[in-house]
Symmetry: C2
Subunit: 296 residues, 2 copies
Amino acid sequence: VLGLDPDPGALWVDATAQGGGAGGAAAGGPARAAAAAAREHCRALIEAAGPACVAVKPQLARFELMGAAGWEALEAVVAHARERGLLVIADGKRGDVDVTAQAYAGALTSGADSPYGRLPGLAADLVTVNPLMGRDAVEPFVRAARAVRAGVLALVRTSNPGASDVEDLPLRDGGSVWERLARLVTELGAAGVGESGLSDVGAVMGATEPWHLERARELMPAAVFLLPGVGAQGGRVQELAPAFAAGRAGGLVSASRSIAAAHLAHGGEPGAAARAEAERLREAAWRLSDAFVGAG
Amino acid sequence: VLGLDPDPGALWVDATAQGGGAGGAAAGGPARAAAAAAREHCRALIEAAGPACVAVKPQLARFELMGAAGWEALEAVVAHARERGLLVIADGKRGDVDVTAQAYAGALTSGADSPYGRLPGLAADLVTVNPLMGRDAVEPFVRAARAVRAGVLALVRTSNPGASDVEDLPLRDGGSVWERLARLVTELGAAGVGESGLSDVGAVMGATEPWHLERARELMPAAVFLLPGVGAQGGRVQELAPAFAAGRAGGLVSASRSIAAAHLAHGGEPGAAARAEAERLREAAWRLSDAFVGAG
């Protein structure tokens, strides 16, 4: 999975050289100039590394930082990825309840009817959600996604150091908070298991602490695991084997900075370096999944 | 606090009567027509009920549903509220780590520098955040907000039934998940306590189960409590007394549907009914806080 996290300070495309920068106001202000550059950056990244990937994962925060112009860029980037045959994972980690969760689900996956006509939303294939608020914060996402054959990826055990502050807390009745979240994923996903044996409710499982993956697979046998944290955050594909026990599509290895900044680490032209790094990660994931899945 | 949750199906302003609706495409499509109507609705709501409130709380999901046009409407509504002297609470419940959390914090409170010039962001005074991912998911928001004299409201114990699924889980070492989150709020807020005795790190505490408030106040003596769930969700202002133990500004009573739809419950013109309901809630909160704060 190709992570799209356009940092305005580290884009391939230097729009400041094209009349942006301090003069950006002439073209609609800094946000509009930054959004245009982010859009071109993501487009180039998709052209370069997309063929080695199954999906793009735009990080919504990066686009929100540029306001309405950023959201326009996000819509354009998503459309471009879809043209190239890539799935789209809207990484927003939204979580809320009731009508608010429905609105987020409409915004990111299903769209929604309104008196003004159909609101299309971003129409992503998968969306990340935060389950802290409980079952009724995830259910509206599942319902909306299922209706349009999309899916949900709930945070279960993330890749950051702070995961130990809350997710790892041991519970009085046994297990930890994240194990309880894993059970919630399995319960909500039970009605959405398809012919492949995989469900439309998956989990975000950080790749930086792979010893959790075996237990996670026990608790969530049918869940697709989105595995961020490879590369820049220190995770190694070779350690993710348990994710693939559910089949080759059981693990979605996600990398952002290690692909977009591959030229800084390995030299060469940004596009070629990104493509090479994405291909290297894909090969590593496929070798690993072959060992589990057999002749696949 | 005046909640702004513009449901496209329940706006005061009927833009479909003005060439929107199925003909909305002529004016830029359904999303643009819905966003224009939502903007006018929020403007009218602020004019009517704003004078009885200290802040507006736009629900970001509702605006996201309309894509880039929705984000434009959000920016306009925030600007309008600020012109009217109201604080702005961006209710997005964002949560992520590292550079992603920084991007959200920039988008919603502090803005951010970029090679294209300063990205202003939404510049909200307070932002709601989701602490599931732990301390490093909240810290970047606190740092960014503190730098611009804004604040953070972390979810601690929310007003929905699903709060019992995760937030209420008892921990092996005593207390519950939400009590642990409360301690995190106090730790992160310690360096941000001002002359008033209140901190720039507060908590979202659902108003529907007020028996938690006393314990919450013990654990978070300096936190501002945002208290959603009054009215439509069943919470009653009269039961929120412990929130005000920290002073009159210790509790921010938030209502959305019960104000915007007051005319459906009580009759009359929408604006007048909204104003009356907002004034009724304010009086109830002030009577309550007077009892705690004294002559205040």
